[in-house]
């Protein structure tokens, strides 16, 4: 009964005209940044974060969430038609989606991708509704040791799954932790690594760091090399999948949805990992694995379903524990804090209209996305024809003004440029930015939890191993670090890199 009341509240909030408008705006911008290569959901969310200061917390989170799952839809269009992923979670869709387009099946690829995304997104929302509330009761048992251990586990999972070299991914996480310590110490109030720059007393801002690492660095990479784009625009027809398409894709969509949702919940998981793993699994279970990479429709359906359900699942740790499971969720955490809302176990009881309003708006947003992505596909295709030489000055300008307008400070712009160069160099030598950003966001929380735990235990690290939840998290984290040392073990990132990703 409670659930029905909550859903009723959610619908009432989501259907308020202002929230509907922001939901539409979010999914529209999400589709746009998903379609356009070079500007992903993280950069778009950081760009628009300052714009949300003028509206209500509910409307702003609805919009920012819409950008995230909207980008999951939009990203597939570029992958299928141009063979360039609009955002990272659509990398796997390129492999078979583009081949389908080359064979004149672009419409069917786009269609199954949109329907698969819709089904997965909708199931993901139901999962969120069913799992989040009971998890809140569990989350109330968390103290500083549990929070610290869970964050360690989250970072370990991310480094384990995302990079070819776990050591280098862990190095990036350590770098993120260091950057996160800049500014005033939470406990003693002492200034750390501020170099007498007053703007750094509050620490380095998330928006300049993210815009630099994901926005400016991408532009710099595109300036140095010319990417050839061949758009299959004339063959986009027959967007409704045939019965045969459905028969071939149903299993893939179901598997992708379930896998994506649970990988999304995992701290350190997320849409990118979900799409990679679901593609690999689909190839494994297929009777014709040799067709993968040559236009197999399952190779489009599975990763698209996985990245969309993962996008919904990722909200669970943020909304129930207050821990962002990936970089996008870290942006949402920042947005919630800016609006005076503390995410965590008490969010559901203190701000039910926010929780249920955002959850229901996701369903509304998914329906909007279906209409945005199928009947309006022609519009997005036209947009793909905009040359990068026109697009990139706009991306740079958005990044510059976005960083500046947060504090009206050119220091933030300078920080963004510095991280732009760092991000560029990191990309050149294949160092992952995601563990760095997640550690940067989690760093201050981890530090507080670690120091509080140690003060409580009078300096004994046994506190992390004598409490069951904390011990479980740490044992899992240690296991993940040890597994790659085993001689027979092939890490997923390496396997995918060598076999599938060209």
């Amino acid at each position: 009964m409670d659930l029905i009341n909550h859903l009723y509240l959610g619908f009432a909030v989501a259907f308020e005209p202002l929230n509907l408008f922001y939901c539409f705006l979010g999914v529209l911008i999400g589709t746009l940044v998903g379609v356009l290569p070079g500007l992903g959901p993280v950069a778009a969310m950081s760009l628009l974060l300052p714009a949300t200061f003028h509206t209500t917390p509910v409307a702003s989170i609805i919009m920012l969430a819409g950008i995230y799952y909207g980008a999951m839809y939009g990203g597939s269009t570029t992958s299928i038609l141009v063979n360039i992923p609009g955002e990272a979670a659509s990398v796997m869709t390129c492999l078979d989606g583009y081949q389908m387009a080359r064979q004149g099946k672009a419409g069917r690829a786009l269609g199954i991708s949109a329907f698969g995304s819709f089904i997965a997104g909708s199931v993901g929302i139901i999962g969120l509704i069913l799992i989040a509330p009971p998890l809140v009761d569990f989350a109330l048992k968390f103290g500083p040791p549990e929070y610290f251990s869970l964050m360690v586990l989250g970072l370990t999972i991310l480094t384990f799954l995302t990079s070819a070299s776990m050591i280098r991914a862990l190095m990036m996480a350590a770098f993120g932790l260091i950057v996160g310590t800049m500014g005033l110490d939470n406990i003693s109030g002492l200034a750390r690594f501020t170099f007498n720059i007053p703007e750094l007393l509050d620490g380095v801002g998330l928006v300049p760091v993210v815009m630099g690492l994901f926005g400016i660095s991408e532009v710099l990479l595109n300036i140095e090399m010319k990417v050839k784009r061949e758009v299959f625009t004339t063959k986009v027809k027959g967007l409704l999948p045939t019965l045969q398409d459905w028969a071939q894709s149903t299993g893939a969509i179901i598997r992708g949805t379930v896998l994506g949702f649970f990988l999304g919940i995992l701290p350190g998981g997320g849409a990118v990992i979900a799409s990679f793993v679901s593609y690999a699994i689909e190839k494994k279970v297929s009777k014709h694995p040799e067709e993968f990479g040559k236009g197999a429709i399952q190779g489009v359906a599975a990763p698209e379903a996985a990245n969309n359900s993962a996008a919904q699942g990722a909200f669970i740790p943020l909304l129930t524990l207050g821990i962002p499971s990936n970089v996008v969720m870290a942006m949402l955490l920042g947005a919630l804090i800016i609006h005076g809302v503390t995410p965590g176990p008490l969010l559901l009881s203190q701000h039910p209209q926010l929780f249920w309003g955002v959850v229901v708006s996701m369903y509304v947003g998914n329906i909007m996305l279906l209409f945005l992505n199928l009947p309006l596909i022609g519009f997005w295709v036209q947009l793909l024809k905009v040359p990068y030489s026109i697009l990139f000055p706009l991306i740079i300008l958005f990044c510059l003004l976005g960083s500046y307008s947060i504090n009206n400070s050119t220091t933030d712009v300078a920080i963004m440029l510095i991280f732009g160069v760092i991000g560029y160099l990191m990309k050149k030598i294949s160092l992952e930015a995601a563990p760095m950003v997640l550690a940067f966001v989690l760093g201050p929380m981890m530090e507080t939890a670690l120091r509080q735990s140690l003060i409580k235990s009078k300096g004994s690290f046994s506190i992390f191993f004598t409490r069951p939840i904390s011990a479980t998290c740490l044992i899992l984290a240690i296991a993940l670090m040890v597994i790659p040392l085993l001689p027979w073990f092939r890490r997923p990132g390496i396997a995918l890199e060598s076999e599938d990703v060209k």
Binding site: I178, L190, I216, S389, Y404, S405, V413, I429, L431
Partner: protein
């Protein structure tokens, strides 16, 4: 297989950086395990980074960086001129942003950016830069109420 200098230098930079961070952490005050101070976390994070970088370096020498891209692949075919000029212009824009003001600074920045990847006629570029500047001004100043600098000319 030859030593891949890029990865060797990369690890050495991280080791040096980690060393500086550890020193900074100690200077801030490590405290003790039962009473950690402000330098506690930076020191531990620096120690972790340095240790991992040393392990990565060791692995590199042992495995001859077999999984890494070669120096040639990483640094070949880069338009250094375009890249460094763009970076230089962005730095200049940041430094002069408050002095020149949003309108003038952004107009000149766009003049450069619209030309850097593809040569176009100056008339097109001037018009495109002016229109883009005004649109961004309207979006940020009027739409989002951002405090954009006026510059020495007062607009």
């Amino acid at each position: 297989m030859p030593v891949k200098k890029t990865f060797l230098i990369n690890d050495l930079i991280w080791i040096a950086f980690a060393f500086v961070v550890c020193l900074g952490g100690l200077k801030l005050g490590f405290g003790s395990f039962h009473s950690p101070q402000a330098g506690f976390m930076p020191f531990l994070a620096g120690l972790l980074l340095g240790t991992l970088a040393i392990v990565d370096l060791g692995q590199g020498f042992l495995r001859k960086w077999e999984r890494d891209k070669s120096d040639k692949v990483i640094w070949a075919d880069i338009h250094w001129g375009k890249l460094l000029t763009t970076l230089g212009v962005l730095i200049l824009y940041t430094v002069l942003f408050s002095t020149l003001g949003f309108l003038i600074g952004t107009f000149f920045l766009l003049l450069f950016l619209y030309q850097v990847m593809e040569r176009r006629s100056w008339t097109t570029v001037v018009i495109a830069s002016a229109v883009t500047t005004v649109l961004f001004y309207l979006a940020f100043k009027i739409g989002l109420d951002s405090q954009l600098p006026r510059g020495f000319l007062g607009f």
